[in-house]
């Protein structure tokens, strides 16, 4: 038995799981990431490392919907994420301690885990009037974000608010709200747009980080390509109806009952990229178009202003400025948003961003029988 094998057995014992359970669990994680089985040893090693990576979750101008969304994660389940995969040391919604105990927990991470922890941010950051519109423990969101994000290994901005200021940022933006990447420029960040973020995607990013110690490849808005690289309209279960010219024209009409296309009811699917039709919500139960309502493009940058009025047909949405059909609009956006990426090449995109050899992680020598 090799030393690596002994370590693995010790790690398994520590987790109280059988080898079979562990391999099953890691296979499921790889499936979430659409990665082939050859990454299994790496995934197993990641999950069984002696020290769990430290994560803190900050909430600023938020509705806590993104925290709630995270609680709904099914693969892996939230208890596995917060207890077994990460050491989840600060999260106001669910952490045990309050007040000074909470503040101390966050301070400890920033000082003692400097450069090694992950920070998830939920909510926008108000910058008007010296940041008085959001304080925690007497400190402004700006001050806390700056300190915690700058000392982290990476920042994950979950939801529309953390990505770009969300509805607070909508005209006239009374509190000067910004997303994290604008409020704290220059940090390493990945944006998980959506209102709320989809926990299936965020869990995949967390597992990716765990496995490869890096974030997946992103688009120009810093959104991971595996989740935001494809037009909703192209993946939509109602697309055939669009192509055949079968549209819902009044809520509850014959076409609505038959599941026809919602484009004429204001659906923004042709202008939005997201894997919503594919991963869906709440353990793949449904998604807004599946439930009969148009898409509001909640995973698109600044969607509150750019994609409303939500019941107007797309070409009349201010911002596009040209008379065009939904189909053409979709094609135009493909070119603009994910230039050079073929719509069906998604699986290739999940690989970690290429690195120079000097920075690549050391090859993992653990072997696992599958």
């Amino acid at each position: 038995m090799s030393i690596a094998e002994t370590d693995l057995r010790a790690a398994l014992a520590r987790r109280g799981v059988s080898r079979r359970q562990l391999v099953k669990f890691c296979s499921a994680m790889l499936a979430t990431l659409a990665l082939p089985d050859r990454y299994l040893p790496q995934a197993v090693a990641a999950v069984t490392q002696a020290k769990k990576p430290v994560l803190v979750w900050l909430q600023f101008q938020d509705c806590t919907g993104c925290s709630e969304s995270m609680l709904r994660s099914s693969h892996p389940e939230i208890a596995d994420i917060v207890l077994d995969l990460f050491s989840w040391e600060y999260h106001e919604l669910i952490m045990a301690g309050a007040g000074s105990h909470a503040v101390t927990a966050l301070d400890r991470v920033v000082k003692e885990e400097k450069g090694n922890y992950i920070v998830v941010v939920e909510g926008g950051i108000p910058t008007a009037d010296d940041g008085v519109y959001c304080t925690i423990g007497g400190h402004t969101a700006m001050e806390i974000a700056d300190q915690v994000c700058r000392n982290a290994a990476a920042t994950i901005a979950v939801g529309a608010c953390a990505a770009d200021g969300g509805f607070m940022r909508a005209h006239p933006n009374p509190t000067g709200s910004l997303g994290v990447q604008e409020a704290v420029p220059g940090i390493k960040i990945i944006n998980m747009n959506g209102c709320a973020h989809n926990p299936a995607n965020t869990a995949a990013v967390l597992v990716h980080y765990l496995t490869f110690h890096d974030m997946p490849a992103v688009d120009q808005y810093n959104r991971p390509l595996f989740a935001y690289g494809r037009i909703i309209h192209d993946q939509c279960e109602r697309r055939a109806h669009y192509d055949a010219g079968r549209f819902v024209t009044e809520w509850g009409d014959d076409g609505h009952r038959k599941g026809w296309c919602l484009y004429k009811m204001g659906c923004k699917g042709p202008a939005a990229t997201f894997n919503c039709p594919d991963v869906q919500w709440n353990d793949h139960t449904s998604w807004p178009i599946g439930a009969g309502h148009g898409c509001i493009a909640c995973a698109s940058p600044r969607f509150w202003d750019h994609m409303s009025p939500f019941y107007d047909r797309l070409p009349s949405v201010p911002g596009f400025g040209v008379e065009t059909t939904a189909g053409n609009l979709g094609l135009g956006l493909v070119a603009a948003t994910v230039a050079g990426v073929t719509a069906h090449g998604l699986i290739k995109l999940i690989k970690p961003a290429p690195k120079p050899p000097s920075e690549a992680p050391a090859p993992n020598e653990t072997t696992v029988e599958v």
Binding site: R14, Y90, A96, A196, E250, P288
Partner: protein
């Protein structure tokens, strides 16, 4: 005398700060402050009223659904739209399942750690835990092996030295009184409830497309098209079967896990049946009429007011008597801050006048919160599950009477114990059971309509803004999980001219008013013992018993005199 600050108050929604004056180991005075402001109402101005619900729902993602519902009700009230019965039923199923979901998450994930010492669970004998579990419930997961597995999992987390969410807890605090075996039982159910909430809420995905923030409301109905013969209809027989399974699961979880746990934990904390009462005034707008038409006499949760604990009189609710004071909130009224204003004429200019951050203490003699202070006829009110159960009990609603009496009998306690921290927990559990039962009734009605070919889900009469009057105003009320919620809207020339929301946590968490009357949180903390000011567990118990939701509470604004137009792109 020492001033204690708890900021952030965790295991709540949003940003709450409590400052408390301690005198002789007890709270002698307290101040509640909301420390975050977003400005939803400013942002809503001049937008399409038909999409107001999409925006307003984002007031809160914990009490998701409830603001969407209040918003469409407000617009429908303003424009005179009656929604079809099926739309009412689907809305009830969404809101009712939200209530059950919210209460379960509150008890296990937001409140339990105030009563349950996780570290103590390691000392438990799983065999004894198993026999306790089997003595209080028929829930299937009750073997010693199961509890040993849970204990092992906790031990591994502790042994790793990385305690994650539990690292900051108050373990070993003298106020924890459960034996180790009960603590183990509760920790097991904390994990079970995590599983339950993610599974049960698929009811929102089925009827709302997703959770949080379901996306199927419409002014005039719902987008969940129904058809008994169409496989692609959102509601068809297959989906009814799916919903049926989820509702059964919820009822089982509430009956076999949640209620038995509340009843088993409460006797160890009898002191808390006489602590934490607060105002003694209770308000419920009431909700869930038996049929279309919204007749209050048929409400599942009756409408009314109970004053000074007096259960003999239920006063009617007059919408005109609601006002909001800003004398201690960071806003200004053009008419001066001495008098409150009715939400329909709501006017607020945000004007921060607190200390410059970073700060140590708030100046509580002046303005100290982003939350306003709603008053009914000048009086502060508590809203929420306890208010609903008390108003319902006093009004003689027979299901509420039977359920409350049943719980009191099991606890061998008089009705007066309801006016307390634990009373709020008990009320929430009772209400969850009533609602889990009611969900079945609504699903059966929906299913019957589907079978009979009654598939009307939308009333198109006023979808076209061309049919609207030049000016209209209205309001929409809802009994949300945390209490009485109201949205007020003014529509002019087809767009939103004014939007105001007075929400449950505004009632409960608001600061003092111009008369110096305390809000519900502030009043409830009077005389709370604090054994260790560095670990103010006792204060958290009472504050958490209200299930605070601060994002809801702070959002209100209508900046008069400022002109807003839709941005031209943008």
């Amino acid at each position: 005398m020492a001033r204690l600050v708890i900021d952030p108050v965790t295991r709540i929604e949003g940003h709450l700060r409590i400052e408390a004056q301690l005198d002789g180991g007890k709270v002698s005075d307290a101040w509640s402050s909301g420390t975050m402001f977003r400005g939803m109402e400013i942002v809503l101005r001049d937008r399409d009223p038909r999409e107001a619900w999409i925006w307003a729902q984002r007031i809160c993602g914990v009490c998701t659904v409830v603001h969407a519902l209040a918003s469409v009700r407000a617009v429908e009230n303003a424009l005179g739209i009656d929604v079809p019965e099926n739309a009412r039923l689907v809305r009830n199923l969404l809101a009712g399942s939200q209530m059950v979901q919210d209460h379960v998450i509150h008890f296990y994930h937001l409140h339990a750690l105030d009563w349950v010492d996780v570290a103590s669970a390691l000392k438990a004998d799983p065999v004894k835990t198993s026999s306790i579990a089997q003595s209080i419930s028929d829930y299937e997961k009750s073997s010693a092996t199961y509890f040993r597995g849970i204990q092992q999992r906790v031990k591994m987390v502790v042994d790793s030295g990385q305690l994650s969410l539990f690292a900051s807890g108050y373990w070993g605090h003298p106020a924890y009184q459960l034996p180790p075996e009960m603590n183990l039982l509760a920790v097991a159910h904390y994990l079970e409830a995590l599983n339950f909430q993610k599974d049960f809420i698929r009811i929102h995905a089925a009827l709302g497309g997703k959770n949080p923030h379901p996306q199927t409301f419409l002014v005039g109905g719902m987008s969940t098209a129904m058809d008994p013969n169409e496989p692609f209809a959102v509601i068809n027989p297959e989906r009814i079967t799916f919903l049926q399974g989820l509702i059964k699961t919820a009822r089982r979880f509430v009956e076999q896990v949640y209620i038995p746990d509340v009843l088993a934990v409460a006797p160890f904390y009898k002191d808390w049946f006489s602590r934490g009462e607060g105002l003694g005034n209770f308000l419920s707008y009431g909700d869930y009429a038996a049929a279309n038409g919204d007749d209050p006499s048929t409400f599942l949760f009756p409408r009314g007011i109970v004053l000074n604990r007096d259960l003999t009189t239920v006063y009617p609710v007059d919408p005109a008597k609601i006002t909001e004071s800003v004398s201690h909130s960071w806003y200004e009224y053009s008419s001066g801050d001495a008098n409150g204003r009715h939400p329909a004429e709501g006017e607020t200019n945000p004007k921060y006048s607190g200390p410059k951050p970073p700060f140590g203490f708030l100046d509580v003699d002046k303005k100290y919160s982003w939350v306003k202070s709603p008053r009914y006829d000048g009086k502060p009110m508590e809203v929420g599950p306890l208010a609903r159960m008390i108003v319902g009990y006093a009004a003689g609603q027979k299901d509420i009477r039977a359920a409350v009496d049943g719980v009191l009998k099991k606890l061998n306690a008089p009705a007066s114990v309801l006016y307390s921290t634990l009373g709020r927990l008990a009320a929430r559990a009772v209400e969850s059971h009533l609602m889990a039962t009611q969900l079945q009734v609504w699903l059966d009605q929906l299913s019957t309509n589907l079978d009979h070919g009654n598939v009307k889900i939308f009333n198109p009469v006023h979808w076209d803004p061309g049919t609207w009057p030049a000016k209209a105003s209205g309001f929409g009320w809802h009994e949300a999980p945390r209490g009485s919620l109201g949205h007020w809207i003014e529509i002019g020339s087809g767009t939103i001219k004014n939007y105001q929301a007075v929400v449950p946590t505004t009632w409960n968490a608001g600061p003092r008013d111009s008369q110096g009357q305390r809000g519900a949180y502030e009043a409830s903390l009077a005389a709370t013992p604090v054994a260790d000011p560095a670990r103010p567990l006792e204060i958290l118990r009472t504050i958490h018993s209200f299930d605070p939701c601060l994002a809801c509470a702070v959002h209100v604004i209508d900046a008069q005199g400022r002109e807003y137009t839709l941005p031209m792109v943008r």
